[in-house]
C-alpha cells in the first residue's frame, strides 16, 4: 500500500520528521518498506512569468526571454522552445537547479552559461522534465514548455513559488507492507487510525454525508442477491446528469502519490474512495443496466464477459464465478473488474454506483482463474467488512456533490440479508499480562484499545473493536493489540527454565558418526533437490519397479516433477556438472532422503534417509569407493560382505558389489557407473564410482558399542603364500577358504595380484600375508607348518596351487 503523506495529514497531522514516522509505524505493526519524496530529484524550480521575448541575433531558432521569477530583477533565459508568449507562466529551473532528462533517463543539472554568446541563467521546462505526464496537465502540449495559464488552479500560482508545491508534488509516498490480516490498513483511513494510535495524535474523521435530490431510486432500479453466501451486502446508488471531466488537482495529486493515474472525475472518485476507505467500488453506465435490474448470481455455463481491461480477452465464465448481471447478461466479475460494455464513457449521463461485499475466497479463486488481479480483488480476497460498504458509497456520493459532477438520488438501495451483529469482548487485563509476561496497568490497556478506535466500557470491561477490524476475535487478539501499541520492545525479557531435556535419537547420533567418517575420507557434502525429472530414472537405468514415484500435480517443470526414489540421478547430475566445470577429480557425499510411494496415493509415502557417495578423477578406482564403504562399515561395527552384483544396470556389470551384513541383509551397493549411464550424462572419458547405503538398515546392523580387545602378550608369526588359480576364482573365495582352515589366523592380508609371464594363460596369481597368533603361547614352527599344510591342502582341493 502506497500512502500519500498529504492525504494522511487530512486525517491525522503526522508532521514529525518522516524518519520518525516510518520508524514508529513499523514498530507498531505497519511495516514500512520504503519511502520517497515525490519531488525527488527536482531542485530549485520555480513558477516564472515571461516578461518579454526577442529573437537571438545569431540564430534562427533561439529566443531570448526575460522572466519574472519573484526575485529583485528578472532572469534572462535563452530557449529554443517555440510555444512561448509574453505573459506565459512556466516552470523555470534556476542556476544550480535539477530536473529530469527523460530522453536519457537521467538527472539534468542546470547551470548558467552562454548560448551563442548570450547569457542564459537557467532553463524553462516541460512536464516531462518535471517527471509528470499529460494526465497531470491535460490541457498542455506534450511538446514544448509547460504553459500553466490554462490550469484550473492558475489563479493560485504565485510567481517565484516552488513548482513542486504549486503543482502538488511536494509530497512523500510511503510504501507499507500490510499483513494479510489487516485489509483495513490497505487504506488511508486505516493507516490514519494506526498513526493515531501509534503517535497519540488527534484524528479528524467525520462520517461522509450527501444532500441528494428527491428521487425514489426503488422505482428505477432493483437489486437481487441470488447467492447470499458469496455476497453479504449490495448497495447501489444512482447519479444523474453526469458531467465527465478532469478531477481537481488535490484529488489527482493524492491519487498520483498513491500510484494511481487520474483518468476522469467519475473513475477517479471510485479509485479515491477505495484508497481512502479501503473498500472497492464500481460504477455502471445506467444505460446498460438492462431491465433496470441488478442480479448478483453465479455465472451460467456458456456465458462470456469482456472485461474493461483491454489486454484480457473475452472471458468464458464458469458457474463457480460470481457475476453482477443485468436482466440478461453479466456486467461485471464480482469484486474483480467491470465489463467493457457497461463501463463509463465520455457520453455517460447516468451512473449506478456499487458498493458491495463479496466472499474473499471466491474472489481470489475467480481472479486466479480469470488471470486478472486488481486492486479491488486483492482487497476483497483478504475479507472485507460489509459495514464499510456504506461509508465508501456515502463518501463517493459526497465527492460527486463536492466535485459537482452530477446529481445524487437521495435514496440508496441496500440489500443486506444478515447484517453483522455488534461484537464485543471482555478485556481481562490480568490475563493479558499473564499471557504476555508483561505488567501493563489496566488503565493503559483500555487507553490503547480506545486509541485503536475500540469502544470501551471500563465498568463492564467490555471492549468492541471498530467494525473494520474483523481480525479481532479472541482475548489473545486483544493481547496482541495491547502489546504492539505498548511496544513489543518495552515488554521485559525472561528466559524460561525448561523442564525438558535434550534427547537425541539413535538415527541422529548415527548420522553424526557417518558425517565424521565421510569428511575424514575427503568427501565434500552436497545438497541436491528432492524432486527430479522422471527421465533421471531412465538415464540412470534404474529398475522399472523402483521408478514408481510420488508425483507433483503442479510442478515447476518436467525436470522437477517427481519425488526421487533414488539419490543416484541427483548425484550423476552434479557429477556431470562438476566435470563440465573442469573439476577434474572429486569426492562427494550426501545424506539425502528418498520418497517411496505407499501404493495408495492417499497415504503418505515412506521417507528414508540414504547415504550416497561418488568419487571420480585421477587415481580413483573401484577400490577407492569400496575402501570408503569398508571404512564406514568397519567404523560402524558392521561385518560387511561384498559380493559381485551383475544385475544392477546402473553399474558396470563386472565392477559392482552388493554390500550385505553378516546375516545377508542388503545394506547397499557400490561400483563403477555403467558407461551408458555416464554417457547419458555426457560423461565419456571419466569413470565414476558410486556408493549407496540405506541408513535404516545400517543402523540396525551397526554394533552398539565398540568393545576393547586386550593387546597381545605373545609374538605373532607371519607366512606369505602365493597361489595360482583360474582367472574366474575371486579373492573372496580364496580368502574364505584360507580363513576357514587357518587356525589361529589373526589377519589375512592380500597384497598382490599377477598375470603374465610364468603364469599359464587364463590363470592368475594372488599373494597373501597370513598373520598367526595364539593368545596363551607362542606358536611353534611345527604348529605353523601343520596349519599351513591344511590350508594348502584345502586350496588344492579347489584346484588352487602354490606358485612355485
Amino acid at each position: 500500500m502506497d500512502l500519500s503523506m498529504k492525504w494522511l495529514n487530512d486525517y491525522v497531522k503526522a508532521d514529525m520528521p518522516i524518519k520518525d514516522f516510518v520508524a514508529g509505524m513499523t514498530m507498531s505493526g505497519s511495516k514500512v518498506e520504503t519511502y520517497r519524496s515525490l519531488s525527488e530529484p527536482l531542485k530549485n524550480i520555480v513558477v516564472g512569468k515571461v516578461l518579454s521575448i526577442e529573437k537571438h541575433q545569431d540564430s534562427e531558432k533561439l529566443w531570448i526571454c526575460q522572466l519574472d521569477v519573484g526575485r529583485d530583477k528578472p532572469v534572462q533565459i535563452v530557449t529554443a522552445a517555440q510555444n512561448l508568449y509574453t505573459g506565459a507562466v512556466v516552470p523555470v529551473v534556476l542556476d544550480g537547479g535539477v530536473c529530469i532528462d527523460r530522453h536519457n533517463n537521467t538527472v539534468a543539472k542546470i547551470k548558467k552559461g552562454k548560448l551563442r554568446g548570450v547569457e542564459s541563467e537557467g532553463m524553462m521546462c516541460s512536464f516531462d522534465e518535471l517527471g509528470l505526464d499529460n494526465s497531470d496537465f491535460p490541457y498542455a502540449s506534450p511538446d514544448g514548455i509547460l504553459i500553466l495559464n490554462d490550469d484550473p488552479d492558475f489563479d493560485k500560482f504565485a510567481i517565484g513559488e516552488d513548482i513542486c508545491k504549486a503543482v502538488g508534488i511536494d509530497d512523500i509516498c510511503v510504501e507499507f507492507e500490510i499483513t494479510n490480516n489487516r485489509p483495513d490498513c490497505l487504506s488511508v483511513i486505516g493507516l490514519a487510525r494506526e498513526a493515531h494510535a501509534t503517535f497519540q495524535l488527534p484524528m479528524n474523521l467525520k462520517p461522509p454525508k450527501f444532500k441528494g435530490i428527491d428521487c425514489d431510486i426503488n422505482g428505477e432500479l432493483s437489486v437481487t442477491i441470488e447467492n447470499t453466501q458469496l455476497c453479504s451486502r449490495y448497495m447501489a446508488a444512482k447519479v444523474k446528469n453526469i458531467k465527465i471531466g478532469p478531477s481537481p488537482r488535490w484529488m489527482a495529486e493524492r491519487l498520483r502519490a498513491c500510484g494511481v493515474r487520474a483518468i476522469n472525475n467519475l473513475v477517479d472518485i471510485t479509485n479515491f474512495v477505495m484508497l481512502e476507505y479501503g473498500h472497492p467500488m464500481h460504477a455502471f453506465d445506467a444505460r446498460y443496466v438492462e431491465g433496470n435490474k441488478i442480479v448478483v448470481r453465479n455465472a451460467k455455463e456458456g456465458e462470456v464477459l469482456k472485461l474493461l481491461d483491454e489486454s484480457t480477452p473475452e472471458l468464458k465464465l464458469t458457474p463457480d464465478m460470481l457475476v453482477i448481471c443485468n436482466e440478461k447478461e453479466p456486467m461485471a466479475l464480482a469484486g474483480i473488474m467491470g465489463g467493457e460494455h457497461s463501463g463509463i464513457r465520455n457520453d455517460t449521463r447516468e451512473v449506478i454506483f456499487e458498493a458491495a461485499c463479496f466472499d474473499g475466497v471466491n474472489v481470489r479463486r475467480t481472479a486466479r482463474k480469470a488471470g486478472v488481479r486488481t486492486e479491488s480483488s486483492s482487497r476483497f480476497e483478504k475479507r472485507l467488512d460489509p459495514e464499510n460498504a456504506k461509508n465508501a458509497l456515502y463518501r463517493a456520493l459526497e465527492l460527486i456533490e463536492e466535485l459537482d459532477c452530477g446529481q445524487v438520488a437521495n435514496t440508496v438501495i441496500d440489500v443486506y440479508p444478515s447484517p453483522a451483529k455488534p461484537f464485543s469482548l471482555k478485556l481481562d487485563a490480568d490475563w493479558v499480562n499473564r499471557y504476555l509476561g508483561a505488567n501493563i496497568p489496566e488503565k493503559e490497556q483500555f487507553d490503547i484499545l480506545r486509541r485503536l478506535d475500540f469502544t470501551v466500557n471500563e465498568e463492564t470491561k467490555e471492549v468492541a473493536p471498530p467494525a473494520v477490524r474483523i481480525d479481532i476475535e479472541r482475548p489473545c487478539d486483544l493481547a496482541e493489540e495491547v502489546a504492539r501499541i505498548y511496544g513489543y520492545n518495552n515488554i521485559e525479557t525472561t528466559v524460561p527454565r525448561l523442564s525438558s531435556h535434550s534427547v537425541q535419537t539413535p538415527m541422529e547420533l548415527f548420522q553424526r558418526k557417518l558425517l565424521g567418517i565421510m569428511l575424514s575420507q575427503g568427501c565434500c557434502e552436497t545438497m541436491t533437490f528432492s524432486f527430479i525429472s522422471p527421465k533421471g530414472y531412465e538415464k540412470c537405468r534404474i529398475r522399472e519397479s523402483d521408478r514408481e514415484s510420488v508425483k507433483i500435480v503442479n510442478p515447476l517443470g518436467e525436470d522437477t516433477g517427481v519425488m526421487r526414489t533414488s539419490l543416484i540421478p541427483s548425484m550423476m547430475e552434479l557429477t556431470a556438472r562438476n566435470i563440465n566445470a573442469r573439476n577434474l577429480s572429486g569426492r562427494f557425499f550426501e545424506i539425502g532422503r528418498v520418497y517411496l510411494p505407499a501404493g495408495d496415493v492417499n497415504v503418505l509415502p515412506v521417507e528414508k534417509d540414504q547415504l550416497i557417495c561418488t568419487v571420480y578423477g585421477e587415481g580413483e578406482d573401484f577400490f577407492d569407493i569400496k575402501g570408503i564403504a569398508e571404512e564406514i562399515t568397519e567404523k560402524c561395527g558392521i561385518k560387511a560382505r561384498f559380493t559381485a552384483l551383475r544385475s544392477n544396470k546402473t553399474f558396470h556389470t563386472g565392477r559392482c558389489a552388493e554390500i550385505t551384513d553378516s546375516e545377508g541383509k542388503v545394506l547397499g551397493v557400490c561400483g563403477e557407473i555403467h558407461p551408458i549411464v555416464a554417457e547419458n550424462y555426457g560423461i565419456d572419458k571419466t569413470r565414476i564410482y558410486m556408493l549407496v547405503l540405506k541408513l535404516d538398515e545400517m543402523l540396525e546392523s551397526a554394533a552398539e558399542d565398540t568393545r576393547y580387545t586386550a593387546l597381545p602378550k605373545f609374538p605373532a608369526s607371519v607366512r606369505d603364500i602365493s597361489v595360482v588359480c583360474d582367472g574366474e576364482v575371486s579373492n573372496g573365495e580364496i580368502a574364505e577358504l584360507i580363513s576357514g582352515k587357518a587356525k589361529h589366523l589373526e589377519s589375512l592380508q592380500f597384497f598382490d595380484i599377477y598375470t603374465g609371464e610364468q603364469i599359464p594363460e587364463g590363470k592368475k596369481s594372488l599373494s597373501y600375508k597370513l598373520t598367526f597368533r595364539k593368545s596363551d603361547s607362542t606358536l611353534t614352527d611345527e604348529e605353523l607348518d601343520k596349519i599351513m599344510n591344511k590350508v594348502i591342502g584345502a586350496l588344492a582341493e579347489k584346484n588352487i596351487t602354490l606358485r612355485s
Binding site: 494479510n180 490480516n181 525479557t493 525472561t494 524460561p496 531435556h501 565434500c524 528432492s530 522437477t560
Partner: protein, 339 residues
C-alpha cells in the same frame, strides 16, 4: 721411558688435532691405546723399571692415557657436531614449498549453520525432531489456522500431490505432530526441508530449509519468547548483538512478531546488506495461538507456548556473504571447498 711417553702424547695430540673424520680418530685410538697399541707396548716394558721408577712412570702413563682419551673424546664430539651440521645442511629443504595434507571433506555451508543452531538449542534443553516432507494438508495448514481458501494453500504457492497431501511449506507440521504425540512440557526444534512453488533465482528456491522451534509448558509467555530469541542471537552472533521485535502476522501465533538483528556488517548505520535499514529480518515468532493448542488436544487454559522459525539459507548467505542462492544447490566443488 718418560721421554717416550711424552713423545707419544705429543704425537698423539698432534695427530688427533689433524684428524678430519671420526674414523681416523677411532683408528688412532686403536693404534695408540688398543691392546696392541703404542702405549700398551710401552707399559709392557714397565717390568724392566726399578721399584722407585715404576709408580712414577705408571702415574705418568696413566696421565698420558687419560689425556689422550680425553682429547679423543673431545675431538670426536667436535667432529660429530660438524658431521651433523654438514648432514643437516645437505638436507636443507625449501620450506616455502607447499605442504602435503591428508585432505578432509567439507561440510555443506547450510549444515554448518544448522549444526550451530542445533548446538545452541540443544544446550538450552531442546530436542531435535524430524517429520515427513510429503505431508497432510491437515498438519501443514488446517491445524495451524490456515483454512481452505487461504492464499498460502494456493497451487501457485504450494506443491500438491493430492488434494490432501502436499510438500510441506513449513516445518510447523512437525510441531503439530509433536504436540499430538507428546504431552507438555515440550521443547523442540524441527529443522528440515520445505517447499514453495517459486522458480529458482538469486534469492528464491523451490526447496529451502527452515529451523523452527516450539516450547509448550505452563506459564510460557511472550516475554519468555523474547528472552529465548535474545539468548539464541547472542550465542550465534556474540554478546554485542542487538535485536528488536516488530509486530507481524502469522495465522498460528498471536501475538506474532518478526525479530530483526542489528546489521552485523554496518552495526546499524545502514549498508547494502541491510538495505539501509540498519536491521536485518532474521526470524518469525509468536505465542502459539490457543486454537492451535486446542487443535492438538492441549488445554490452552493450562498450557501456553511460543514458536519461532527461520530460514537457514538466509542465515548461511549472510554469514558467508553468499550473494546467489543457486550456489547452495549447484554443488560446484570450487564452492563446496570454501567452507
Amino acid at each position: 721411558m718418560k721421554e717416550q711417553l711424552n713423545s707419544i702424547q705429543q704425537k698423539a695430540l698432534d695427530e688427533i688435532k689433524n684428524a678430519v673424520d671420526i674414523k681416523t680418530v677411532d683408528d688412532l685410538k686403536v693404534r695408540l691405546l688398543g691392546k696392541k697399541g703404542e702405549l700398551t707396548a710401552i707399559l709392557k716394558q714397565m717390568g724392566q723399571l726399578s721399584a722407585e721408577e715404576r709408580p712414577v712412570i705408571g702415574q705418568l702413563a696413566n696421565q698420558v692415557r687419560e689425556c689422550i682419551e680425553n682429547d679423543i673424546g673431545r675431538k670426536k664430539e667436535q667432529l660429530k657436531a660438524l658431521e651433523t651440521e654438514r648432514k643437516l645442511k645437505k638436507e636443507t629443504l625449501d620450506v616455502t614449498l607447499p605442504g602435503r595434507k591428508l585432505e578432509q571433506g567439507r561440510r555443506h555451508p547450510l549444515n554448518i549453520v544448522l549444526d550451530d543452531l542445533k548446538e545452541i538449542f540443544k544446550g538450552m534443553g531442546y530436542s531435535v525432531v524430524d517429520g515427513p516432507e510429503v505431508e497432510k494438508t491437515e498438519y501443514v495448514f488446517d491445524m495451524l489456522n490456515t483454512d481452505e481458501g487461504h492464499p498460502a494453500r494456493d497451487p501457485s504457492d504450494t506443491f500438491y500431490i493430492t488434494d490432501k497431501i502436499i510438500l510441506r511449506t513449513q516445518t510447523s507440521s512437525v510441531q503439530i505432530r509433536t504436540m499430538l504425540a507428546n504431552k507438555p512440557p515440550i521443547a523442540v526444534i524441527s529443522p528440515g526441508r520445505v517447499y514453495r512453488n517459486d522458480e529458482m533465482d538469486a534469492t528464491h528456491s523451490p526447496i529451502f530449509h527452515q529451523c523452527e522451534g516450539l516450547v509448550v509448558d505452563k506459564n510460557i509467555t511472550f516475554s519468555d519468547l523474547k528472552g529465548t530469541i535474545e539468548v539464541f542471537a547472542k550465542r550465534l552472533y556474540g554478546n554485542d548483538i542487538k535485536i528488536r521485535f516488530r509486530p507481524h502476522h502469522f495465522p498460528f501465533t498471536e501475538p506474532s512478531a518478526e525479530a530483526d538483528f542489528r546489521c552485523f556488517k554496518c552495526g546499524g548505520k545502514g549498508c547494502p546488506l541491510c538495505k539501509g535499514e540498519g536491521w536485518i529480518e532474521m526470524l518469525g515468532c509468536g505465542v502459539v495461538h490457543p486454537q492451535v493448542l486446542l487443535n492438538c488436544g492441549i488445554d490452552p487454559e493450562i498450557y501456553s507456548g511460543f514458536a519461532f522459525g527461520m530460514g537457514l539459507e538466509r542465515v548461511a548467505m549472510m554469514r558467508y556473504g553468499i550473494d546467489n542462492m543457486r550456489l547452495l544447490y549447484e554443488n560446484d566443488l570450487r564452492f563446496l571447498k570454501q567452507f
